[in-house]
Amino acid sequence: MIGIDGCLARMMAIPGAQGVTLIDCASGLAVAAAGREDLVDQHEDAAGSTDVVRAVLASPALSATRTGDDIQEIIICGASGYHLLALLNEDIDGLLCVHLWLDRDKGNLALARMSVQYLMREMVGQ
């Protein structure tokens, strides 16, 4: 099991990573952050990302089952960058989420998704 800061440091080592924030989506609290904060600081980041997660969870249109899917990731592809919102809710009460911001040219979305999933499980010791 790695600590929070160790986990965020390893996420920042993912190719193209610009910034990463660990968010408690139950409250919108930024638990920890690393990397760039020049566009938004970690608190704005946490609040904005939480809004997106909650909107997706509340929307029947974004579910694949009648009872509501468990959302694992939300991906935003911009012309200049990717945003990966990875939710960790398996066996965990409450809702933790990692927001990883990737540079579009340097980043590899598939690699980042796998790395983030792996590191999040490491962090909570699963």
Binding site: I4, D24, A26, S27, G28, L57, P60, S63, G94, G125
Partner: protein
């Protein structure tokens, strides 16, 4: 008025170390002007929080959760320099400005969801009937509805479920906005539990309500009532004003004869107790299904 925030800012400036006791609402521990621990009887302690996302993270979540009540407390804070809180959790490091920022964000968030102060302190009462085909809930919202027994307040539910209080408050506000829990104002119970935060808040809510009833803030009242009706209209049909009443009478009587429409948001306080006092058994008013009435009218028009 909350006095903890200016006091904390001074302690931060002085790089103070010690414990800031905020009446009976809890205490904050500082080390060199940085907040390291916080506890409040209203917020579940970190070891009581469900789940296992690491003690480090739980400690932080619990500290910010407790701070929400400490910073809102009107109690006069007392600082014990050099003292420590005996807590089993690892310390976290939060600057005072971060904590204040988070506190203000949370307050704004709650009031933006469903501006109804009583929701925070009154027992959570799920609505009896839904006029909807389908409802989507988050896990926590479902837990709240399943465990609400019409006596537990959001704080009680947070302790019962082992959840941060703020998450529960937010869920209750969202449930109210979705029309799933009662938001009708009720009389303030004589022996309010706790005697501190809740009782005080209930008294405040009651005095605000009294001010409104007396017509002191007539403008605010109109605005507030409008907001409540507008919010309710998005979740279930509610008849208000002459326009909708006319539309309804064009089709079918909406309810038993002699029964008027629903109490408007501001009048709910007076309407129901009066009916009970008369000792007449009046069936509880159910909002008419406007869509159904509309279809009926169309059908009747086609027949003629």
């Amino acid at each position: 008025m909350p006095t903890s925030i200016p006091r904390l800012r001074l302690l931060e400036r002085d790089h103070a170390s010690g414990v800031l006791q905020v009446g009976e609402d809890g205490a904050l521990e500082l080390a060199n002007g940085i907040v390291t621990h916080a506890e409040s009887p209203y917020a579940p302690a970190p070891q009581r929080l469900a789940g296992s996302p690491g003690p480090e993270m739980l400690a932080l979540i619990a500290v910010v959760d407790a701070a929400y009540f400490l910073l809102a407390s009107p109690a006069e804070p007392r600082f014990r320099s050099g003292d420590r809180l005996a807590l089993p959790m690892p310390p976290c490091e939060l600057t005072v400005s971060t904590l204040v920022h988070e506190y203000e964000r949370r307050r704004t968030l709650l009031s933006s969801r469903w501006p109804h102060g009583r929701l925070d302190h009154a027992p959570v009462v799920p609505v009896r009937r839904l006029r909807r085909q389908r409802v989507i809930l988050t896990g926590l919202e479902a837990e709240i509805l399943l465990n609400a027994d019409e006596r537990r307040t959001p704080v009680d539910l947070a302790h019962h479920l082992g959840r941060p209080v703020f998450a529960c408050l937010l869920a209750v506000h969202d449930l109210a906005a979705a029309g799933l829990v009662e938001t009708r104002p009720e009389a303030v119970p004589a022996g309010a539990p706790g005697g501190t935060y809740e009782a005080r808040a209930l008294r405040e809510a009651a005095s605000v309500a009294a001010g409104h009833a007396a017509g002191v803030t007539a403008t605010t009242r109109t605005v507030a009532a409008g907001a409540v009706v507008a919010g309710a209209a998005t979740t279930r049909p509610v008849m208000t004003g002459a326009g909708t009443t006319g539309a309804a009478t064009g089709a079918e009587p909406a309810g038993p004869p002699g029964q008027t429409g629903p109490p408007a948001a501001g009048e709910g306080l007076d309407e129901l107790p009066t009916r009970r006092r008369r000792g007449v058994e009046v069936p509880e008013w159910e909002p008419p299904d406007l869509a159904l009435l509309g279809r009926l009218r169309t059908a009747l028009e086609e027949l003629t």
